[in-house]
């Protein structure tokens, strides 16, 4: 009778080691074969859409998700093709990316950096996502961008407006289609000067985090350059819901303009509170009091309701643009979802197409090849006119919109009107501009 040496403990240990080996993340195995993270081996390629599906920016995130689903449909040759027909690059054929059918997985950022990193990590490691796209908040974008750099995948940031995303926190694997605080300032200042004059005293309320700080710095610098004076800058906690105690002292400060460096729920509440105090009907220093919201979004404008009437701000893109690309996207999105797309939806849609196009042009999914194809890429037909993805900092440069709350909206989507399309040349800046100083793009990381 033979005697077995296999003990219960030994069996458990062996099973654990074997199981662990089998459960190694897909990307490690794939990477070992092809030299970069999550190289697609079958007939599909998986994109990761990381957007806020819960939390205060959920509506924004869900609109991003709608747009990304639409982009996947168009890439796979379904639907009317949307902007693929107007895009100046003709590399996309409607047969997926590099012949592989596009699939996608989604993650919920919850507009929290740690949750966003966790969901992106899960999509990369468990679902084999080859790139991460989307998001709403600069804090989240910077956190996820760092993770994607380490993991060796391309990150296309969604709605992030802080100068830092492509400034001190820029990364070689990260790209941003959205505009930034500096560009808002450069676009807004001349319009504000034209509308309200040179001799103005501005009081800033600023959300106390990276986006608020850089936007305030940018708007203050741009308006001071046209002769305005910054009377006060008050930092407000991000969790604030009632801004009345911050707004009450504004009239006594001698200011005649209130600049709300707020976004999302903060913007809706601070603007509503300012209207409650009747600021727009007051006269200070012999001038009508004015309110400026430097960063607008259609969804936030809808949240603020009629309080946005006459208030000036800036936007990345708007469905009312009349270029062929914007019209094609608005038609495609509107027919599928019964509503016009928001500017976050547009950003995430075009980023998905641009990523796919870069893969086609590079002939590879290798993130370093894709990054190289995106760097310095000039194109047209995706809204906003001729556009550049600058190689030095991976910031996108294009026309910027100055918007105003509509006085007589005809329906629930008709909240804002385009005051001016600011040409790209006016919002460009040098890569070593002091507001974007520090940080290093570094080297592209293919992972593996």
């Amino acid at each position: 009778m033979s005697k077995s040496n296999l003990t219960r403990r030994g069996l458990l240990k062996t099973s654990a080691i074997a199981g662990g080996g089998l459960m190694l993340p897909t990307y490690l195995r794939a990477a070992a074969h092809s030299g970069f993270t999550n190289a697609p081996t079958g007939d599909t390629v998986t994109l990761g859409f990381n957007v806020p599906q819960t939390g205060p920016y959920a509506e924004e995130g869900l609109d991003e998700l709608r747009a990304q689903e639409l982009a996947v449909e168009h890439l796979n040759g379904e639907g009317d093709g949307g902007m693929m027909s107007t895009f100046s690059s003709k590399a996309l054929q409607g047969n997926g990316i590099l012949g592989k059918k596009v699939t996608f997985v989604t993650g919920d950022t919850q507009t929290k950096s740690d949750a966003a990193r966790a969901s992106a990590k899960s999509m990369i490691e468990k679902d084999g996502a080859i790139m991460i796209n989307g998001g709403s908040s600069s804090g989240v974008a910077i956190a996820v961008q760092g993770l994607c750099q380490e993991a060796g995948v391309i990150f296309m940031a969604g709605l992030t407006h802080s100068n830092d995303t492509t400034g001190k926190d820029k990364k070689a694997n990260g790209f941003r289609h959205f505009f930034n605080g500096y560009m808002s300032g450069a676009a807004l200042a001349p319009v504000l000067e034209k509308e309200y004059g040179k001799d103005r005293r501005a009081y800033h309320l600023t959300a106390d985090y990276t986006w608020g700080w850089t936007q305030q710095e940018s708007i203050a610098a741009a308006t001071e350059a046209v002769g305005w004076q910054t009377v006060e800058n008050v930092l407000t906690p991000l969790a604030s819901t009632d801004f009345s105690s911050y707004i009450a002292p504004v009239l006594n400060s001698g200011a005649d303009v209130l600049v709300l460096n707020h976004y999302g729920g903060n913007m809706v509440n601070s603007l509503s509170n300012a209207i409650e105090f009747d600021l727009l009907s007051k006269e200070v220093n012999g001038k009508n009091f004015e309110i400026v919201v430097p960063l607008y979004s259609e969804l936030m404008a809808a949240g603020a309701g009629e309080n946005v009437k006459g208030v000036i701000g800036s936007m990345n893109w708007n469905w009312q643009l009349t270029d062929e690309g914007s019209k094609a996207f608005t038609k495609s999105f509107g027919e599928k979802y019964g509503r016009p797309p928001s500017n976050s939806a547009h950003t995430c849609y075009v980023q998905t197409l641009l990523y796919a196009d870069a893969c086609e042009r590079a002939g590879t999914f290798n993130p370093c090849g894709v990054a190289e194809a995106l760097e310095g890429f000039e194109f047209d037909g995706l809204g906003n006119g001729p556009t550049l993805y600058r190689a030095e900092d991976h910031q996108c440069f294009k026309d910027v919109l100055v918007m105003k709350g509509k006085e007589n909206p005809s329906n629930q989507y008709d909240t804002l009107e385009i005051v001016e399309v600011t040409p790209r040349a006016q919002v460009e800046y040098a890569p070593d501009h002091p507001m974007f100083a520090g940080g290093d793009l570094g080297e592209c990381n293919p992972g593996a």
Partner: protein
């Protein structure tokens, strides 16, 4: 001086909301001994009662207007509210405009019913359980309620304006002898303060001057003895839960024009309201009201530029700082009684 008056005014409306929520919390704690973390959700549901009534009044039928186009270039579907068709354009528009004040009547039966269901369906099973269990179950309930609201109403804030006649602000400057525009304050916030004072007064009068109130107060002081007298104190306490829910709901209804309601607004107020209850003294109704106004005013002063530049971040910690100081010097809070939560 004008800045001081402005911040006191400012603190009064914030304090009104804290006081109303804390009053309800204290009523529930004082009668049923339950620490109700779902109370903020009742405030939020109250605000959504205003949203719901506004949406009901705005229910519309579509008429195709061939002369206008929508964003896709199709003929525009013009929405006309049913109330305007049924009652005429002026009356219909007035109903929509006055939806928030009308929601006060709409919300009372709804909030009392929700209070009854919460108490009979869930919370009564936790009366004899430790406070930690009560906190966990009511906190869970709060999350469930806010997720339900988010499912039906979405995550974005929904603007719910006050009637036109109450919009804008009132300038106290001339009355107080200051320069024009020195002391201005929104009309609706003044109404909110007056409304809160009325509700607080009504609750105190109800407890002080009615037989029902007297029995409830006796039950709060000595539940067993009242029970031995043959009085069904549990039934009365259940009614008090419904009243507390209605108070929180009314606070929410009237708050809707101040901050556009969103599903998370209850949580924003909940923690601060608990601090108010603790500072006021657990189980003390006058303590809850006094602490609500006190902390509201202090929070308002701490948000001034002078305060935030002198001590950065003071606006975020002032309430907790005051709570620590009061609990160190008066461990039972401002008006707390011996024996409450001390077993």
């Amino acid at each position: 001086m004008d800045a001081i008056i402005l911040q006191i005014l400012n603190g009064l409306d914030k304090g009104s909301a804290y006081a109303l929520i804390a009053l309800g919390l204290t009523l529930i704690f004082g009668t049923l001994g339950v620490v109700n973390f779902a109370h903020g959700a009742l405030f939020m549901i109250g605000a959504f009662c205003a949203v719901t009534l506004s949406k009901i009044f705005s229910l519309s039928y579509e008429v195709i207007d061939e002369s206008q186009t929508d964003f896709l270039g199709n003929p525009l579907k013009v929405q006309t509210p049913y109330v305007e068709a049924w009652f005429g354009p002026e009356t219909g528009a007035a109903l929509i405009d006055w939806s928030v004040p009308l929601a006060i009547l709409f919300s009372i039966p709804i909030m009392i019913t929700i209070g009854f269901i919460m108490e009979r369906g869930l919370i009564k099973h936790f009366y004899k359980r430790p406070h930690a269990d009560q906190i966990l179950v009511t906190f869970g309930l709060a999350i469930v309620l806010q997720e339900i609201i988010k499912y039906y109403y979405g995550a974005n804030p929904i603007p719910t304006p006050a009637p036109d006649v109450f919009r804008g602000s009132y300038d106290f400057s001339a009355m107080l002898g200051f320069e024009p525009n020195s002391v201005i304050y929104p009309v609706w916030r003044l109404i909110y303060f007056a409304f809160s004072a009325l509700i607080i007064g009504a609750v105190f009068a109800f407890l002080q001057f009615t037989t029902f109130g007297m029995v409830v107060r006796a039950g709060m002081a000595d539940r067993e003895t009242v029970g031995l007298l043959g009085i069904n104190i549990d039934k009365r306490f259940t009614i008090m839960f419904g009243i507390a829910a209605a108070v929180a709901g009314l606070a929410g209804v009237m708050y809707a024009p101040i901050n556009a309601p969103n599903y998370h607004m209850g949580m924003d107020f909940l923690v601060l309201s608990f601090v108010v209850v603790v500072v006021g003294g657990m189980g003390s109704l006058p303590g809850a009201v006094a602490a609500g106004f006190l902390l509201g005013i202090l929070e308002s002063f701490a948000s001034t530029t002078w305060a935030t530049t002198t001590i950065p971040g003071i606006n975020q910690i002032i309430i907790y700082l005051v709570a620590i100081i009061i609990l160190l010097t008066r461990p039972r809070g401002l008006m707390g009684k011996k024996g409450v939560m001390e077993e």
